[in-house]
Symmetry: C2
Subunit: 164 residues, 2 copies
Amino acid sequence: MPAKRKPAPATAEHAPLQLEHFLPYRLSILSNTISQAIADDYQRRYDLSMTEWRVMAVLARFEGLSAREVAERTAMDKVAVSRALSRLVEAGRVNRDTHDGDKRRSVLGLTEAGWAMHDEVAPMARAREREVLARLDAEEQIWLGRILDKLQMGNRERGTGNKS
Amino acid sequence: MPAKRKPAPATAEHAPLQLEHFLPYRLSILSNTISQAIADDYQRRYDLSMTEWRVMAVLARFEGLSAREVAERTAMDKVAVSRALSRLVEAGRVNRDTHDGDKRRSVLGLTEAGWAMHDEVAPMARAREREVLARLDAEEQIWLGRILDKLQMGNRERGTGNKS
DNA sequence: TCGTTATAGTTACAAATGAAACCACTTGCA
DNA sequence: TGCAAGTGGTTTCATTTGTAACTATAACGA
């Protein structure tokens, strides 16, 4: 438990940042705590990293994506995707074919085993999300959605980080 | 630009997660984008990592903390703090004495140079925060504050990650 | 007062991440 | 055609981060 302690007196003229009220910092703590809690659920149990899970999640929704498309949809960079995929293919959770008309591209999809795992993990993830949202009342949930939309929108304009 | 593509038809019965509406995922993207944008400001210019900046920020507010107290206040683990501190001390931005009554503890504070850097970086960080918040109207900002408080509160109970 | 246990902080090693170089293939254009 | 430039994806290497073990000191209890 952090000891109660007065702010340093000598610093009045320095206008130090109050980390605990600083939006980027708060977001970062909150996000890490939540994501980590969810990841803990499947990390040990299934030997599945968060990045791997994200890849599986988009492949569950969109069959036949290429690695680059997976990268776009997960907001991961292509190296991270490549690594996640090689582990997933290795583990027999994803199959990787080669595109008919373009031998550079891969055509990705979940295997039977991949689907089975997905169908166990997805409900877990959703349940965790519900737990988090349950701390808010209905009105707050609506505002949260709206606010995230707006904040996210602003970021998109500044570039989503995809290097060209 | 992600090609428009229909959801895989065969997956109706699998109830795949919609990542783009999944709260933990959205928070994670948002948080990383914002933090990274801020960090870019000082990373190159001052050769200062985000963890180092956080340490400096709490030392600006609370003089004479020990490394452990810094860890508590930054929500970083003690190893990360130790590393950040050794870089900061090395660079002459933080000074580290030994506690009078307890030779294990360090007594930390910003040096002159540390304060000078702080007084340049803090306003930059605040400006960035304002940019982000400017995407929201006054009402939304109030709701956001309230919502973050509630979400954060829930996490605290579950344990903030500090191993004992 | 001595030995056990706890705490502050660092070090050492392994795993994850990021950046750049790279290979294979495709496209566009002279 | 054929060759320069672009794209999809992987590999390599350096850096960062996480975990466990370790050192030094302090606190507690018999």
